[in-house]
Assembly symmetry: C2
Homo-oligomer: 230 residues x 2
DNA sequence: TTGAGAATTTACTAAAAAGTAAATACGTCG
DNA sequence: CGACGTATTTACTTTTTAGTAAATTCTCAA
């Protein structure tokens, strides 16, 4: 953790954006690790190799900084999620030609696997972000709720809509609720990483291991397909 | 929140156990709502209608109090979980007679429904406890891990073992991992309540509503059965 | 009834951390 | 080159909160 490098510090050119970036990075880590109240501005300042007063200069107060971290995190989440969605489309053969027999039909197993894979990647790494979000929600439920609705809403709806289409086309069973299924997908993937202390204590292999991740991926895909396929 | 009742306070007879209980109750609420660092001993003291120094007298320091809350919470969780397990057994017709054709066979749909129902009940109410657990795990990973292993381990293993039996008997598909399935069950149920700020913002109906709870229950049961039945 | 031991309160200390104001160093643009 | 503005630091105040020590009140048992 000791990145104290007086040389680098002295040499570093003055750049407000770069400095802000560094502060945000350090803040993200500290908030994720300790929560809002547990986090120390002093620690963040040290990690960012910056004077504490500078944090106040740029972000006003602790709450302002936290809000900014949340904004950035949600943006990152969305980015990953849209990647995910575009990849979903990408894994489709080509444009659907309505009249052709097989056109427009999706390779469901591949699609599901790609979706789950990306979920795992995201949550295994950004596991702490949801905790930050919860904290922010407690402080300012209105703003957070609005932000989430604006930022993750669309991507969620897009996935649901995609499933809904397939359902209408009869590619998957009709008696399934797309919303619930997508939520379940996320839940099955995210939960073990969110509740690591709980799960780890009753699980034979480490939750973070790639072994577990692979097993888990496979299982979730099987669950989804079992429910979706006729 | 204002339960300040000087009369009651003055009248109340001196009872260390009752007072401790009151403190623990208040502490549970405060810690659940604000986390370890966010929680204030003063607030807890006021809620418990007790002098702050009394908290120190009984629990030593803030950490001691928190540890005690965790212990009590885990106990409650286990209690619910064993209820759950005994109910699982209870929903079985009777003792299995090995030679008889249908004996020992489980009414899987009913069993699954009962299991999920109890999970929903637990997590919808004790949603905040997992947050407390996470916090404690950060402070003392070793102890928490041991506690969890001792207390929720057995119940988890019992459910898994039950499924495993059924699998060996060929009552459910052979290509399923009981551990993963049980974890998924818990995940699908608990996640929406844990991550309420995230889910609520993209969900049409309130997560806490009985409407959502019912829908959810049904969906999870369907998921499990789809995967388990041949 | 009384005295001993507990439950409970009062009054305080100490430490930590957030936030502020003003001074200083640095780069850049005329 | 030089001064103007912004980035950054220094030094400080204020507030909050956990924790402690000792006094006080209550209860119960001898």
């Amino acid at each position: 953790m000791r990145t104290a490098d007086p040389e680098a510090r002295r040499k570093r050119e003055r750049s407000s954006v770069e400095t802000k970036r560094r502060i945000l990075e350090a803040a993200q880590a500290e908030f994720a690790a300790k929560g809002f109240d547990g986090a120390r501005l002093g620690t963040i300042a040290r990690a960012a190799e910056v004077q504490q007063a500078l944090i106040h200069h740029y972000f006003g107060d602790k709450e302002g900084l936290h809000a900014e971290v949340v904004r950035a995190g949600l943006a990152a989440m969305t980015e990953g999620a849209w990647d995910l969605l575009s990849k979903m489309d990408g894994s489709e053969p080509a444009k659907p030609a309505k009249k052709s027999k097989n056109a427009g039909k999706t390779d469901l197993p591949a699609l599901a696997a790609a979706f789950v894979d990306l979920l795992v990647r995201f949550f295994a790494e950004n596991g702490a972000f949801l905790a930050i979000l919860r904290h922010e929600a407690r402080r300012d439920a209105r703003t957070v709720s609005k932000l989430v609705a604006e930022v993750v809403g669309p991507v969620f709806e897009a996935v649901v809509a995609r499933l809904e289409e397939m359902r209408k086309r009869g590619e998957v069973r009709k008696d399934v609720s797309p919303r619930h299924l997508v939520l379940s997908c996320v839940a099955m993937v995210a939960f073990p990483f969110q509740e690591e202390p709980l799960v780890a204590a009753v699980w034979p292999t480490p939750v973070r291991s790639s072994e577990f991740r692979e097993e888990r991926k496979e299982h979730v895909v099987e669950m989804v397909l079992a429910r979706l396929l006729p």
